[in-house]
């Protein structure tokens, strides 16, 4: 199977605290993968390494068979947990900004998604509610024709209705030839859109399996499995 993201013995520390400990991981193409862990488990660190925003202290990170760097950034679309847009921007400016910045930006898709998300082009980004802001970030991220999409806590701060809308958008606009890695600690609401899940705890991968396998083998939902592993 073609691997889209590969980590080999990756470690990363912040101020003496180990965020990732010798992590090895391989993610295949054409899948929606959940990166599940509680706060501070290392999810965001792993996402940022894959996006090339930070670098590993040791080990290697590859996207599409290439060491993470300028070339892999061209095929990686990252949705950060905080907006990348500037304060002065309106929604249309944010779209234009992305369009100019990324060669693979699909303006027609963005247009379509703005409509689906009920985003108004003339609205100021700074005045958007948290939920609408997440919709905008998701629109910008998914409108690129990338190989690897990285969504860091896309449903973190929104109510269940907005959450459903975001999940709809992911299923609707996800490109089947690419892979989508979604980090979250809200497992129950989102587990049906995953092919595969990776559990991360205290900087270590504790489980990687297909979700249907988990249900078949253990007769339980991913959410229950998560609670068991994380002892919530």
């Amino acid at each position: 199977m073609e691997s889209i993201l590969q980590l080999k013995d990756v470690s990363k520390s912040y101020g003496g605290k180990k965020a990732l400990k010798q992590v090895s991981l391989q993610l295949g193409a054409g899948k929606i993968i959940g990166l599940l862990g509680s706060n501070g488990s290392g999810k965001s660190t792993l996402m940022k390494l894959a996006a090339g925003l930070i670098h590993p202290a040791s080990g290697t990170v590859q996207v599409g068979g290439m060491e993470v760097g300028l070339e892999t950034k061209k095929i990686t679309s990252f949705m950060p947990d905080r907006p990348l847009t500037e304060k002065w921007m309106r929604v249309e400016d944010a779209v234009l900004f992305y369009k100019e910045f990324y060669a693979d930006f699909d303006a027609a898709k963005a247009e379509d998604m703005l409509g689906f998300m009920k985003l108004n082009k003339r609205d100021r980004v700074i005045e958007l509610s948290k939920g609408m802001n997440e919709r905008l970030q998701l629109t910008l991220t998914l409108s690129r024709n990338a190989k690897l999409y990285l969504l860091d806590e896309p449903i973190g701060g929104v109510d269940p209705v907005a959450r459903a809308k975001i999940l709809d958008a992911i299923v609707n606009y996800y490109n089947e030839e690419s892979s989508l890695l979604v980090s979250t600690h809200l497992v129950r609401d989102i587990e049906r859109i995953f092919d595969e899940v990776v559990f991360i705890r205290e900087g270590e991968i504790v489980l990687q399996d297909e979700v249907e396998n988990i249900r078949l083998k253990h007769g339980k939902s991913v959410d229950e499995m998560f609670k068991e592993v994380f002892g919530e």
Binding site: G30, R188, R192, V211, E212
Partner: protein, 124 residues
Amino acid sequence: MSIEFDNNLPIYLQIMNHIKKEIIVGKLKSGDKIPAVRELAVELQINPNTVQRAFQELEREQIVETKRGLGRYVTSEESKIMEIKKEMAGDLLGRFIHGMQELGFANQDIVNIVSQAVEDKDNE
């Protein structure tokens, strides 16, 4: 199509069962077109690969057939539909009998209870 999913069971099996039921009760008829993968995934808010897997399994069981470039259709073989009906009834019965045995009922008691229940139902 709307399905109440149980996250404790494989979703693709639940989709398969749902479609089989729709065929048995006649909501989906022999020769009817079934929805496209993406369409159903969006509607049910689930992973497209899961829907794909359900459809592939249904194909393998010859319950749906693919017409190249046109989509997937419910089998035109009526005998196949009868077969699914029997199979689903068998599953239901198996679970029932198992449950009753677990409660400590002997086989003859189970038969008597069922006969009585069916009779009562008829007299309602």
